[in-house]
């Protein structure tokens, strides 16, 4: 029974006008024909038999056309029967019963079959609808690519509703419509295209009202879409909005060229499909958003890693411009530093296409005019320019020169002070999305942190260098004061004493001896002072530089020293002083603590740094942490930006290596 109604239903739902016409023809002509055919058999055929034949016709009618034609047939049949058989005989009781029975049964059966047919038709129709929806839902669930999904939806809707075409389109900004997919019964090929949404037509109505719309005749419609419809001979068109997260995303339209009766619940049916499409789009959007979020986090993490490991600024700036450009889908990104004289210097840049013009690193341009670099410098906030058509100033002209159509910029604020700006520019007609400012700011925050760290480090290093330099300057002064003051006076005193000695007559031998004793005492004091002065500051560096000074140290050292000096000509004073102290301390340690038999000193100036090495064959075990002399050396060397390393395994001698950068 189910199969029967199913099969019947498939046929029955084709409510074509032809079939309806056939039903009425049958409804009216059927009884007439049957009556005419049965007139000759009137005498042999009872009224019941006549009515039975009419019943068959009525049933057929019910099957073909539904309840109304069947009831018409029953009425006509009853009238025909009554009229036909009335002439021949009185209306007998049985005849009346037959009439009443025929009418009752005919009506009942007609209604029943009509309803069944309708029910079957509806069931079949809804089953087909379900099947169509299921096919589409499957595509949505497995996240089919958009073009496949929309093509399938258009086809399913078109076939289901027996239309001549079905179309899925999306609304774009600036009142444009992009037709994404079209299905036509005739199988015409199709390609996506953009059309302006204007005038009075279905798509315009849907966009304006956000509700389904219908046009039965395009004669009075206007706009490019209406003209197109008229050109194709489209008659009836119905459109339903695709609403994604409260926003009118697009429209689905179905229509016919021939005469077409859309089912009464077509808006509901279309809504079922548009809901599915909206879900698919929403899912895709969510997926895209999640993917994008993950990409953003990864990009920011890469940049943060560079910041954390103190990568050199050039490397960091290059990385930021590249990551931000990729992520924000810009065509070009630039990082600029603001200078105190009202200019901005390009520090790093990235471009998406190798064919595009490369950023000129180090180029300084004057601020002023309407351009993003200037705007950000004035407002100290993120900003955007959606059209460079009217940009002005040197920078604006340069931006147009590299085909910027729109751009977004975010300031780099280091400790509250405006340091620079990162700009992301696009050459496309469509400006960068509204979230670009916030996303760019994540990057500029990282850059600001890195610059702040680098600044702190620079300040710290400079501060340490200043401390060392101040201490050295003090020592130099003390030594000079000592030399020019006490030492010179002692010498003069000694000379005066010797001069006095020459005047002593030979017979005053004891006086002479006492004077000689004082002279010796004086000489001894001078020696002590000399030793002290040497420990305070190596004034001999000033005269000949590092090499003679190191040779002197080697001479004074109580254990043999082998020298390999390739330090060349004079080096910066702070380097010579540091090197002298390093070697002096190392030699002292070797002689006093390490009980070494020989020490080897190497000094070589190679390119950017002075390399010092002091190796002894003593007992080793020197601990930079416990020996205050070595810590002081480390501080001094590191304050210059250099490195000091000590390898002193117990029993294997001590090797000290220092590297002192020659540049500032």
């Amino acid at each position: 029974m189910g199969t029967l109604t199913g099969l019947t239903g498939i046929w029955l739902t084709r409510q074509s006008p032809a079939r309806r016409a056939a039903a009425w023809v049958l409804a009216i002509a059927g009884p007439v024909v049957v009556t005419a055919a049965l007139i000759p058999f009137r005498s042999s055929l009872s009224l019941g038999g006549f009515f039975f034949c009419m019943l068959v016709v009525a049933l057929a009618d019910a099957a073909v056309g539904g309840t109304r034609p069947a009831l018409t047939t029953v009425a006509l049949g009853a009238a025909a029967g009554a009229g036909l058989y009335d002439r021949s005989a009185r209306i007998a009781g049985t005849d009346l019963v037959s009439l009443i029975a025929f009418v009752a049964v005919g009506a009942a059966v007609g209604i029943l079959i009509g309803e069944l047919a309708q029910l079957a038709g509806e069931q079949a129709s809804s089953r087909r609808m379900e099947a169509a929806l299921r096919r589409v839902a499957t595509l949505v669930a497995r996240a089919a690519p958009a073009d496949e999904l929309f093509a399938a939806v258009a086809e399913q809707v078109g076939r289901l509703l027996a239309a001549d075409y079905a179309r899925v389109a999306g609304y774009e900004p600036d009142d444009m419509l992009t037709v994404i997919s079209t299905w036509t019964r005739a199988g015409l090929p199709f390609s996506p295209r953009r059309v302006s949404v204007e005038g009075e037509n279905v798509s315009t109505f849907v966009l304006r009202t956000g509700r389904p719309a219908r046009i039965d005749d395009f004669a009075g419609a206007t706009g490019p879409l209406a003209e197109e419809a008229r050109a194709f001979g489209v008659r009836c068109t119905i459109g339903a909005p695709i609403i994604v997260e409260g926003r009118i995303w697009g429209v689905m339209t179905v229509g016919a060229i021939q005469k077409w009766t859309p089912p009464p619940d077509i808006e509901e049916r279309l809504s079922s499909f548009t809901d599915l499409v909206a879900t698919a789009i929403s899912n895709a959007d969510t997926r895209a958003a999640v993917t994008w979020l993950a990409e953003e986090q990864a990009a920011l993490r890469r940049v943060a890693t560079l910041v954390a490991r103190g990568a050199p600024p050039e490397e960091l700036f290059e990385a930021v411009t590249a990551e931000a450009g990729q992520l924000l889908q810009a065509d070009q990104t630039t990082l600029c530093r603001y200078e105190p004289d009202g200019t901005a210097t390009s520090v790093a840049g990235w471009r998406r296409s190798p064919a595009a013009v490369r950023t000129v690193v180090g180029r300084r341009l004057k601020l002023g005019g309407k351009n993003l670099t200037t705007i950000v410098s004035q407002t100290c906030r993120a900003a955007r320019i959606d059209s460079y058509a009217d940009a002005s100033g040197v920078i604006g002209a340069a931006a147009r020169g590299v085909h910027f159509r729109s751009a977004v910029g975010s300031p780099i604020l280091v400790k509250g002070r405006l340091w620079g700006v990162v700009l992301a520019g696009s050459s496309h007609a469509e400006p960068l999305g509204p979230e670009t400012e916030a996303r760019l700011t994540s990057f500029t925050d990282l850059v600001a942190t890195a610059i702040s760290n680098a600044d702190n480090l620079t300040e710290l290093t400079a501060s340490r260098a200043r401390v060392v330099a101040t201490a050295d300057e003090t020592r130099r002064r003390i030594e000079r004061d000592l030399h020019d003051g006490a030492q010179q006076r002692l010498i003069s005193l000694g000379l005066a004493l010797r001069a006095a000695q020459t005047e002593v007559p030979p017979q005053l031998g004891r006086l002479e001896a006492e004077l000689a004793g004082v002279a010796d005492g004086l000489a001894s004091v001078q020696d002590d002072l000399q030793e002290m002065a040497r420990g305070i500051h190596p004034a001999i560096l000033a005269q000949g530089g590092l090499e003679p000074a190191l040779k002197t140290l080697a001479r004074r050292c109580t254990i043999p020293v082998e020298l390999d000096l390739r330090a060349g000509a004079r080096l910066p004073e702070r380097v010579e002083v540091a090197a002298y102290y390093v070697v002096a301390e190392a030699l002292t340690n070797a002689a006093k603590h390490a009980r070494a038999s020989v020490v080897r000193v190497e000094a070589a100036a190679a390119g950017r740094a002075l390399h010092l090495g002091v190796r002894d064959d003593g007992t080793g075990g020197a601990d930079p942490v416990r020996g205050s002399g070595l810590i002081g050396l480390k501080d001094r060397v590191e304050a210059l930006g250099g490195t000091l390393t000590v390898h002193s395994p117990a029993g294997a001698g001590t090797a000290l290596h220092a590297e002192l950068p020659l540049a500032e």
Binding site: L495, A499, A539
Partner: protein
């Protein structure tokens, strides 16, 4: 012949020397001592310009030059003396508050007869260096 720190033989003309040093007290003390020991201090100078001028005018036999001549370099003075006053070249001796071992290489590389520590300045010391000079 050496007696009581006096260094000359009665029939010899005393050697004439020029002392170059930026410290006045030393110049006075050194002059006094050397005169008493038998040298003639022909002149004194406190900087390079004065030293060259005096050397040119006085034509001393010996020039004592302080290595640390204020901001100037005594070795520079020695080199310029050798270059600019070649005729009757004087013997140049470097002196310093500091010790010889601090300046060994520099002394050897300069056109000087040798070095005397200021605290050990004496006519005898000068004589020893002169004897060594060819």
């Amino acid at each position: 012949m050496f007696h009581n720190g006096h260094f000359w033989q009665p029939d010899q003309v005393p050697l004439r020397c020029l002392i170059v040093d930026d410290n006045d007290a030393f110049l006075k003390a050194a002059s006094l001592l050397l005169e008493r020991e038998g040298l003639t201090v022909a002149g004194i100078a406190s900087n390079t310009a004065e030293a060259l001028q005096q050397a040119h005018v006085l034509r001393p036999d010996i020039v004592l030059v302080d290595i640390g001549l204020g901001d100037e370099s005594g070795f520079d003075v020695a080199r310029r003396l050798a270059r600019e006053c070649p005729a009757g070249r004087a013997t140049v001796i470097m002196i310093s508050t500091r010790s010889e071992s601090d300046y060994t290489e520099l002394i050897a590389a300069s056109p000087v007869a040798g070095f005397l520590a200021k605290s050990e300045l004496s006519a005898a010391g000068i004589g020893r260096l002169l004897d060594r000079t060819p």
